[in-house]
Structure formats: structure tokens, C-alpha cells
């Protein structure tokens, strides 16, 4: 019964999200939303995908990866090559971006995921840097000066990808496969002893997370006119990490909320150049000091509705 309830809740949310997407589409197409807000909205959407995809790796599977910008870069460049060099349509570029990043995830994940804790962190950080340096040295994609990319990211694609990411990752998490990943996070030795193929699930989570980071990369590349290796340095990886931790490790809604909040704060602070980063860093420090477990802790936003829901269930029965 609980599972049926879940299904119902799931489909209601999907329908609500689609309605929101369609309304927004009309507003944007009708020009009733300022372009600047639209752009901020796009940036938020991309950051949500990044946050949620990293949440799968760190929050759910417990693998401390801080090279996520590397996957973003792979997706951005792969998709940009598709549209700009090979004249492929945007949807193809999106998928290629995701797949290229997933492959990168496999390549880096298989050898390094046996590392633990901080050692894994530094290895993934190193991977991110290697990706950046590789693009820096390939003249085909413009080397250090980067690659100009046409603006092809549109609202339907963006919101579609955001929803797809969230749905896939929520569905994955709330299944026996997600539980397998969580058990690795909780206690790898015990997970192993319970018959979980830990390597398989670590790599799977890594590849899936990388896939969506690659999709985000494709959206990113086709929204900001130009991509350049310096956009994908380790500081970018930290930005994504911050979404996940600030939102609450293990809470996807937390990651989403943090991505929205921090993107808005950061965009708002653009107009205060002198103090921008000082304020931003203070916000970070203070939030962490007051809520070390993150905004949402390990809770999901849905858990706040649970009480009401179960009460309703009882009435019906």
C-alpha cells in the first residue's frame, strides 16, 4: 500500500512539474519574463542537474568525489563538438554529452573507486584537472581560448532535462538499487557481506552521476555562448560540492534547494563586486556553522508532507 502511495505521489509530482513547465514556456515565449531572469532560471536549472547528479555520488553512495566539473567539461565539449563542428542537431548533442561524460566516469571510476575518503577525493580532483588540461591542449576545441557555441538551450530542453534528472535519480534512489548504494555509504564492509556488489554499484552511481553532469554540460555550453577550460577548474567542482553539502548530505531536495538559493544569491551579488565573494563566503561559513548537517539534514522535503498524507489515508480507510 505504501508503494502504491509512492507511485501516486510520484505521478502527481510529475504532472505538477509538467504544468509548471508549460506555463513557464508560455510566459517566456510571450516575452513577459525579463531575459535576465530567464537566464538566471537557466543557470539555476543547470546547477540543479549538477547538484542532483553529484548528490547521487556523494550523498547516496558516499563516494567523496570532488572532480564533478570534469564531467561537466566533458559533456560541454562533446556536445559543442557535435553542434559546432559536426553540425548535429541539439538533441543529439545532449545525448552525446551525457554519454561521453558517463564514459569518462567509467574510465576514472573503475580504477579509483577502490580508494577511500580523502584519497578518493584528491584522485577525482586530479581527474577534473586532467580533463581541463586536456581540453586546454587540444587546438581542435580552441585550446585555452575556448570554443564559441551557438545558443541552443531552450526552456523546454532545460526543464525537460532537469525533470528527467530528478525523476531518474529519485527513482533510482527509491529502489533496491538505491538502497544498495546507501548501504555502501553506511558501511561498505557490511554491504559487501550482505551480497551487494559494491564495485558495481559505486561505478554505476558514478557513471549515472557523470551522465547527468554531461547533460548539464551540454546545456551549459549551449547557453553561455562560449566554453573555455578555465570555466571547469576545481573551484567549479567545489561550487557543486557546496550545493550538495549545504543542502544536506543525502537529501536530494536539499541539494536542489541549495542550488537554487546559492545561484540566486550569487547572481544577486553580481552587482556588489567589491563585497560579492566576501559575503558569499560568509554565507557559506555561517550556514555551515549553524547547520552543519546542511539545510535539510538527511530529510527530504516530501517527509514534511508525510504526516498530513498518512492522516488522510487513515480517514479513507
Amino acid at each position: 500500500m505504501k508503494i502504491l502511495g509512492q507511485a501516486k505521489f510520484f505521478w502527481t509530482s510529475v504532472v505538477l512539474a509538467v504544468v509548471f513547465a508549460v506555463i513557464m514556456q508560455f510566459l517566456i515565449a510571450g516575452g513577459s519574463i525579463n531575459q535576465f531572469y530567464v537566464n538566471t532560471l537557466f543557470f539555476i536549472g543547470i546547477n540543479i542537474i549538477l547538484a542532483v547528479s553529484l548528490h547521487l555520488i556523494i550523498g547516496i553512495t558516499g563516494q567523496f568525489s570532488i572532480g564533478h566539473a570534469g564531467f561537466l567539461a566533458v559533456g560541454a565539449y562533446a556536445s559543442a563538438i557535435m553542434t559546432m563542428k559536426l553540425s548535429m542537431p541539439f538533441p543529439v548533442a545532449l545525448i552525446v554529452g551525457g554519454i561521453a561524460a558517463a564514459v569518462a566516469g567509467l574510465i576514472i571510476g573503475i580504477p579509483t573507486l577502490r580508494l577511500r575518503g580523502d584519497y578518493l577525493a584528491i584522485a577525482t580532483l586530479g581527474f577534473g584537472e586532467i580533463v581541463r588540461i586536456v581540453f586546454l591542449n587540444i587546438d581542435y576545441v580552441g585550446g585555452a581560448s575556448g570554443m564559441t557555441v551557438s545558443h541552443l538551450t531552450t526552456w523546454p530542453w532545460l526543464i525537460g532535462c532537469v525533470l528527467l534528472t530528478i525523476i531518474v535519480i529519485v527513482n533510482f534512489t527509491n529502489s533496491t538499487h538505491g538502497r544498495a548504494c546507501i548501504s555502501i555509504r553506511e558501511n561498505e564492509i557490511a554491504a559487501d557481506a550482505m551480497g551487494i556488489n559494491t564495485t558495481y554499484y559505486k561505478v554505476a552511481a558514478f557513471a549515472l552521476g557523470a551522465f547527468f553532469a554531461g547533460i548539464a554540460g551540454a546545456l551549459y555550453a549551449h547557453n553561455f555562448y562560449i566554453i573555455q577550460p578555465t570555466n571547469f577548474g576545481f573551484l567549479k567542482s567545489f561550487d557543486i560540492l557546496i550545493f550538495v553539502v549545504l543542502g544536506g548530505l543525502g537529501s536530494m531536495s536539499g541539494a536542489v534547494i541549495a542550488a537554487i538559493l546559492l545561484t540566486i544569491i550569487s547572481t544577486y551579488l553580481q552587482s556588489y563586486p567589491e563585497l560579492r565573494m566576501v559575503i558569499y563566503s560568509l554565507v557559506l561559513i555561517i550556514m555551515m556553522l549553524y547547520r552543519p548537517q546542511g539545510l535539510m539534514g538527511t530529510k527530504e522535503i516530501t517527509s514534511f508532507f508525510k504526516v498530513g498524507k498518512s492522516a488522510k489515508g487513515r480517514n479513507a480507510a
Binding site: K2, I3, A7, F10, V168, N171, F172, S175, T176, H177, G178, R179, A180, I182, S183, R185, E186, N187, I189, A190, A191, D192, A193, M194, G195, I196, N197, T198, A204, G250, T298
Partner: protein, 256 residues
């Protein structure tokens, strides 16, 4: 009774230290056997060999005639050995129910794709798992705390949950590492009853490590004694109780 586990000349070295060496041990289906020995004798290490946490540097281990050496722990679990740990290793942020569901994972029939796209296979698979897990937890009297996080349970219940979880992986052989550690005599007695009950119910073979002689002597049919990594005795509780080598190395003069 037929043979279930056969260990021949198994051993492992850590650098210079021979933590376990030349151990020969056999378990028949349905037996309840104890493994005792002084601290640091290599008992837990022996469990680690059986479950693949460590790969034996010598000898062979087979279950139901199949060789297990060198298999990854998760594969050994699938072949039918599961265990509890000396220091509790629950998935502490997961609920009691989910802890057990994780152990069912190996039996899950629905794929990642069916879960991601919420295909019917996902719903039926998850539903089956949930029902089985709840059924199961009833036996362990844990069904009143299904949605409690494992870390919030009192110690005794955590121990029980760990055993339940190990059993959910559907083993032929269950290994218990000091299940009564940190329990008072009263709680230990309850545990003894539980062990007897699950053995009946699931038709299990059990190998258990324990320092509490009341428990070991009370429930085990046979006992192996390990000292300095080697077996020094094997026999019924009565035989072990009076074995001078065991008395000297482990039990001390009088046994209560």
C-alpha cells in the same frame, strides 16, 4: 547429515604474523558449532577468511563442494554464507526495514532500468521485498520498529537486527561473531533462545564465536578451539570443558 562446509589447511599471514594457520574444519548441515579461543587467537580472522574479507594465503575453503577461495565477499554471500560482526555494522541511517531489504537485494529480480522508469517489474519486485522483510522482522519481534533508524535502536535490538539482516540474505551457513558481547546474563539467555529458534525455523547451520561459556556450552553441539591461529581442540562441550590444553590456554582453572 551431509557435509556443508569444508576447510582444509586454511591460513593467512599478515606480514610476519601467522594469524590463522593450517586450520581444518568441517560442518555438517544443520549443526550448531562454537568457535572459542583466547583474544587474538584468530577467530574473527577465520570468519574473515570464510566470508572473503581476507583471501587465504594457503589452503582451501569449500561450501557444498564448491570452492570459495578468492571469491569476492558479495559472491560468497550469494553462495550461502552470511555473518554478523564483532562490532555491530548496521546501516545506521537506514530504517530497520531497509536494513533487511538490503540483504534481500541479491534476490531482487528487477533491473536498474525497470526501477528508473518505474516499470511494473519494479513495483512487483519492491512489493514482494517489502512484504517478505516485514514477515521476517516479525519473527525477530522487530516489527514494531520497522521505520525506526537502525542507529536509534537500543543495543540489544541492534544485535538482533544484525542477525535478522544476516538471515535475510538467505544463507545456508550463518556465522555469528560474539553475538552476546555486551549483554547481561538475562539478555544472553534471550539470545540463546532466539538462536535455537532460528536454527529450527530456517534449517540453518551455525558457527558462532563467543566468550560467554554459558552460552557456548549451553547451545553448541560441538566446539572448536583456536589458539595462536591453530586449532588446539575439537569436541563436545563436555570434552572441551575438561580438555587440559583448553583449560590452560583459555578457560582457566575452574569453570562455573
Amino acid at each position: 547429515m551431509t557435509q556443508l562446509l569444508k576447510v582444509e589447511n586454511a591460513g593467512i599471514r599478515f606480514g610476519g604474523l601467522k594469524a590463522v594457520s593450517d586450520v581444518n574444519l568441517e560442518l555438517k548441515k544443520g549443526e550448531l558449532v562454537g568457535l572459542i579461543g583466547p583474544n587474538g587467537a584468530g577467530k574473527t580472522t577465520f570468519f574473515n577468511l570464510l566470508t572473503g574479507v581476507y583471501v587465504p594465503t594457503e589452503g582451501s575453503i569449500s561450501l557444498d563442494g564448491e570452492k570459495l577461495n578468492g571469491l569476492a565477499p558479495f559472491k560468497i554471500t550469494k553462495k550461502g554464507i552470511s555473518r554478523t560482526f564483532q562490532n555491530i555494522r548496521l546501516f545506521s541511517e537506514l530504517s530497520v526495514l531497509d536494513n533487511v531489504k538490503v540483504a534481500y537485494h541479491a534476490l531482487a529480480k528487477h533491473s536498474i532500468l525497470s526501477s528508473i522508469f518505474r516499470l511494473p517489474a519494479h513495483f512487483s519486485g519492491e512489493k514482494e521485498m517489502e512484504e517478505k522483510a516485514i514477515e521476517f522482522l516479525k519473527i525477530f519481534k522487530l516489527d514494531n520498529v520497522l521505520h525506526e533508524k537502525a542507529k536509534n535502536l537500543p543495543y540489544g535490538q541492534q544485535r538482533r537486527l544484525e542477525i535478522a539482516r544476516a538471515l535475510a540474505a538467505n544463507p545456508k551457513l550463518l556465522l555469528l561473531d560474539e553475538p552476546a558481547a555486551g549483554m547481561n546474563p538475562q539478555e544472553t539467555e534471550e539470545l540463546m533462545n532466539l538462536i535455537a529458534l532460528i536454527r529450527e525455523k530456517f534449517n540453518l547451520t551455525i558457527l558462532l564465536i563467543e566468550h560467554d561459556m554459558l552460552l557456548v556450552m549451553g547451545v553448541c553441539e560441538r566446539i572448536y578451539v583456536l589458539d595462536h591461529g591453530q586449532l588446539i581442540a575439537e569436541g563436545t562441550p563436555e570434552q572441551i570443558r575438561s580438555n587440559p590444553k583448553v583449560i590452560e590456554a583459555y578457560l582457566g582453572e575452574e569453570v562455573s
